[in-house]
Each structure stands twice: as C-alpha cells, then as structure tokens.
C-alpha cells in the first residue's frame, strides 16, 4: 500500500506539473477523473502564475493534440456501471491516449487494478474486477500498447475507494485504476 501511495503522490505531482505547463493555454475543460485527477485540478488556480515563470515551459507551444494527450493521461481512474464489465464509451478517447503513450514509451510499465462495489459475492466480484481490468487491457493493446508493459490485478470489493453503502460510494468503487510501476 505504501508503494502504491507513493505512486499516487508521484502521479499527483506529475499531474500538477503537467497542469502547470498547460494552464495558460488550456481551454479550461476539466476531466472528471475523480480521486487522483482532482488533486491536480484543485490546485489549478494557484498554479497559473508558476507556469509563466517556469523556465521549463519555454521550449515552445504545445499543439492542441499534445494538450489533449496530457489531459487524458491525468485521468487514471475509470468508472464502470453496475453489473457491467466493459469500460464506458466516453472513456475510449482517453484510453487511446494512454495506449499511444505506452506505445511511444516502451520502457513504461503500468498496473491495471480492477475493483467492484460490495454487492454480490466476494469471489464473483474478484472475477468481475479482473474482467473490468481486462476490458481496459485489451483496448490498450489493440491501440498499440505491449502486453508486457501491463500487469493486471483485481481486488474485487476488498479495497473500496469510498466506505459505505450509498449509491455514490458504490459508483466510486466500481473502477479500474491505472497505476505507474
């Protein structure tokens, strides 16, 4: 878990610096990635000024495509509908950017962690979490990632993102997380 949380922080920092880079030119549309992504966006108001003075940003204008790619890579949590193992159609474009990023960086390794809400039996949810992660895995591979870059693990209902029996908690717990390795 500690390793995972360090990775979470790393991703958060990465998201923060990416955001800082694109803050001036960003059209302002925010992603709805939840847990990890929101850390980046919550610091958006203060990050604008740091971006202007950041010498790293002098390398030139980012294309619209690059900006979209960076925004897409900041989304690392993908939510699923109840009883459904396939990721949402709305996430297709975002996942395409993840796939292209993996294809372009062959040394990059990720872990896809599948989760379910607590309804239904634990063993079934463990299998369902794996199917959800595999649904993302297959899409990444079809779009250029290599199988060897990706590890899949299911936690079923054992690691809820949010405690409780509310629909809101359930919807946040049905997810696949992309974790850098």
């Amino acid at each position: 878990m500690t390793k995972q949380s360090i990775q979470t922080i790393k991703m958060g920092l990465m998201a923060f610096s990416l955001f800082a880079l694109v803050a001036c030119s960003s059209s302002g549309d925010t992603d709805e990635s939840g847990a990890m992504g929101s850390e980046g966006s919550s610091s958006s108001s203060s990050s604008g000024s740091t971006a202007r003075t950041n010498p790293g940003s002098t390398s030139g204008q980012l294309t619209q495509e690059e900006i979209r790619a960076q925004n897409a890579l900041r989304q690392t949590v993908f939510y699923f509908d109840f009883d459904i193992a396939e990721f949402k159609a709305a996430d297709r474009e975002t996942l395409s950017f993840h796939a292209r990023d993996l294809a372009a960086n062959s040394s990059k390794r990720i872990r896809l962690e599948g989760h379910a809400d607590e309804r239904g039996t634990r063993e079934y949810n463990l299998a369902l979490g794996e199917r959800r992660a595999n649904s993302v895995l297959n899409y990444l591979i079809v779009n250029g990632a290599s199988r060897s870059q990706i590890e899949v693990v299911s936690y079923g209902e054992e690691r809820p993102a949010q405690q409780g029996q509310s629909e809101n908690a359930y919807s946040r717990n049905r997810r696949v997380e992309v974790v850098a390795r």
């Binding site: 878990m1 949380s5 239904g120 063993e123 079934y124 299998a127 369902l128 299911s154």
Partner: protein
C-alpha cells in the same frame, strides 16, 4: 515491539504471524428464536474445591442451548431446588415448573492433581429417566471445552442430531484505518466467537479461508505479494507455504472432503476457470473451460463432483460437473433467479445453500436453500448484502457475512430459517465465516 506502528511505517505487503494484536471480540446475540422452545432447567453446578472457578460451566451450557434457538433455559431464580446429582433430584419439582429436561452437575478437584473433574447427569422429566451422565476431567482452562461437550450430549439426546458446540469458526476481519491503510486479519474462534486468535495479519487483503477436513490446516488467499495467491497454513504451528503462483487470478481454495485435493479458481488462460490441484502429487487438472466467469467451487460429499458458479448463460447460475468429465458436460442446477451464486450442498446432498438475487431490478443478495429434488426454495434471510454462507458440520445452522449498521458482521440462521443469531464485532468489519468440521 509496537506492532501496529511497525506495520504502519515499514511493512507494506509483509505479514505478522501469531500477532499480539487484539483480535475482534465476538459475542452472540439471539435475534430470532423458535415459537415453542423446549423448556430445560440447567442447575448451577456445585463446586467443591477452594477459590473461584474462571468459567461458569452451567451458564456456558445454557448459552449454547439458547443460542441455537430450540431451547428455553429456566431462570436460576425460579428453581425450587438446586440438586447436583441424581440422589437430590425430585422430578415433581421440575414438572411443577413445566420443564421437559433437567441437567445437574458438580465440579471437584481430581484427587492428587491440578485437574478438575466435572460430573453431569441429564434427565427426562416427563419420563422420569436419566438419559446421560459421565465424568469429564481436564485442566481449569479446559472448563469451557468441557461445558461445550456437555452441550453436545444434551443437544443430541433431545434432537437426535450431533451437537456442533465444540466446533470453531474462521473469518476475516478488515480494520479500516484510512484510505491508504487497512489491516486484514485471519482469525479463528470457538463457534460462539469466544477465545478468538489471530492466525495471520497483513496490510494486503486476505480472503476465502477454507478448513482442511481434519481441521488441522487452513487454505486461503493472500495478496501479500501484491497479487492474489493461495497459501496453506498449519493452524496449530503457524507454518505456512504458498501453493500457487500462476499468472492472473488465483482464488477460492476449497478442500475436497477426502482431504487429497484443493479446488481453486485460476485465470491463467485468460478467464477464471475451476481447477483441482492434487495435494500430494501437485498435479493440476483443469475442470471447466469457458471464456466467461467460472468461480466459487465447492465439493460434493463424495469428493467426485464440483458445484460452481458460472456466467456462461449471461448471469451467474449454479452448475455441477464431475471430475474427469468433459468440460462441456455440466449440469445446471438453478434457473429461476436472476443471479444464483456461491453454492454448496448441505450434508444431506439434496439441499443446496446459495446466495440469491431474485431480480435484476432488486439488487438484494440473500441466503437461500434449494431442494434439487422438489425444487422448493426457502429464502432464509431478509437483509440485502448477505454472502459467504458456511454450514455447521451437523447441517443445523448456516453462518454468513452481512452488513449491520454499515459494518460487516457474522449472522447465523437455522436450516429452516426459524432461528437466527448474530456475532457482532467490537472492532472492524467481520466477513467470510468458515465453519470448521467436527474437531473431535
């Protein structure tokens, strides 16, 4: 050593066996009993020795009998006499109080030793006969075991069914600290939640404890390597070994009744299928082969067939397959539920305990029993998140995991649904009960 602090700071993914961490204290609450319980008088056992005994043997027997719901014990304050052996028993005294049965006893120091001996006698008031009686000897720390032994005798004399009061349960406790830290513990206790011990503690999930049929070992899933893998642990010594390391999911270990094999779920070839590993030769046999989910294996009593859940027709339903049969040669056992999951046969081989979701619209999961000959279904529970049913070895009760006030608790229900009791936990979420086989 400060265990929790050490775990917190450093030991991500590592484990402490036999930890000193406080185990969840469970104690029984009866939530529902039968309409006409059998009246029984359990007279306080006399104690001839010096000092105070650590356990109240007759109180433990009373608790045992009331917990299963079929008995109503007479209040001590209403007793007209307090006999401790047959010579002091007057049946009339108990008939006046409308009692059907009477248990009396006395505890002495065993001559020339530190042991105690417990003599008990059990009477049928209406027929005016002694049904049972013996002297049990043990150390003072075994008084609780002796009490459960006596409960077994009383239960069997009255109901004709072997008592399960000397059995144990195993379960998983999850103690949520913060989003980054949850302690998972595998614990074992008496069937009534007393004398809990921690068998394994980890900061990664622990799942699916399964007793070996001798009660000596437990198989379970641990994520301690960051991946779900199956382990076998000797309960008394704590010695353990990892027995699977296949790619992807390794889950749901289930010991065959003859003790020679372990059924399990592996998704090494892409999707979860049922496998059986021979525990002496380590040979692995694939039992099912389907691109959709197959999981939750359980064994028939003859160790020759496996009951499992499969999504092959779209939603989870229960199927049965004989070992060695073609993977296409499966028999479907459930039809009239939206989802039927996690099934196992009762010792009678006819009634199938399972988790049931009746309709798509109503996502409630309840414990039910399907008679596969008459096709009669009895839904035993009325809560909505019921799972992991485990049957007492005498087939009389089913323990299962559910939620109460937002927390995981263990409930038990009798096979006919009339009696319920709960083992609330003072600490953490309790789940995945596994009832032991008969241990003596």
């Amino acid at each position: 050593m400060n265990l929790s602090k050490a775990l917190h700071s450093f030991l991500a993914g590592t484990l402490c066996l036999w930890s000193i961490a406080a185990s969840a204290e469970l104690s029984i609450q009866i939530t529902q009993g039968v309409d006409n319980p059998i009246p029984i008088a359990v007279v306080p056992f006399s104690w001839q020795g010096t000092g105070v005994l650590s356990e109240d043997v007759s109180q433990i027997v009373m608790n045992d009998l009331e917990q299963v719901g079929e008995f109503l014990a007479l209040s001590r304050s209403n007793m007209l006499s307090l006999p401790s052996d047959e010579s002091q028993v007057y049946y009339r005294d108990w008939r006046i109080l409308a009692q059907d049965y009477l248990l009396v006893g006395k505890i002495d120091r065993a001559p020339g030793s530190q042991l105690v001996q417990v003599q008990y006698e059990f009477f049928d008031i209406n027929r005016e006969i002694k049904l049972a009686g013996e002297v049990l000897t043990g150390s003072v720390t075994q008084l609780r075991d002796i009490a459960h032994e006596i409960s077994n005798v009383v239960f069997e004399q009255v109901t004709g069914t072997r008592g399960a009061f000397t059995t144990e349960i195993m379960y998983v406790v999850a103690e949520y600290v913060n989003p980054e830290l949850t302690y998972f513990r595998l614990e074992k206790s008496d069937y009534d939640g007393q004398r809990a011990q921690v068998l394994l503690e980890s900061v990664e999930p622990i799942m699916s404890p399964s007793w070996s049929p001798t009660g000596r070992d437990v198989a379970y899933v641990s994520f301690e390597t960051d991946l779900p893998r199956i382990y076998i642990q000797n309960i008394a010594t704590g010695d353990r070994r990892q027995i699977t390391n296949y790619p992807n999911l390794n889950s749901s270990p289930e010991w065959s009744p003859d003790g020679t094999k372990l059924a399990m779920v592996l998704s090494k070839d892409g999707s979860p299928d049922i496998y059986v590993q021979d525990l002496t030769t380590n040979q692995l046999i694939q039992v099912t082969d389907h691109p959709l989910i197959d999981t939750e294996p359980s064994w028939t009593a003859d160790s020759r067939s496996i009951v499992f859940m499969s999504e092959r027709t779209g939603q989870p339903q229960i199927y049965q397959i004989e070992l060695g049969a073609s993977s296409f040669d499966v028999e479907r056992l459930t039809y009239d539920c939206f989802q039927c999951l996690n099934a196992q046969f009762l010792p009678d081989g006819v009634n199938l305990v399972h988790v049931r979701r009746e309709t798509r619209q109503d996502p409630n999961y309840q414990i039910a029993v399907l008679n596969i000959e008459t096709l009669r279904i009895i839904t035993l529970t009325s809560t909505s998140l019921d799972e992991s049913p485990s049957v007492a070895p005498n087939g009389s009760m089913i323990m299962y995991g559910t939620k109460f006030n937002g927390r995981g608790v263990l409930d038990a229900v009798s096979i006919d649904g009339t009696v319920k009791f709960r083992l609330p936990s003072t600490q953490g979420d309790v789940r995945e009960p596994a009832w032991s086989p008969f241990l003596n």
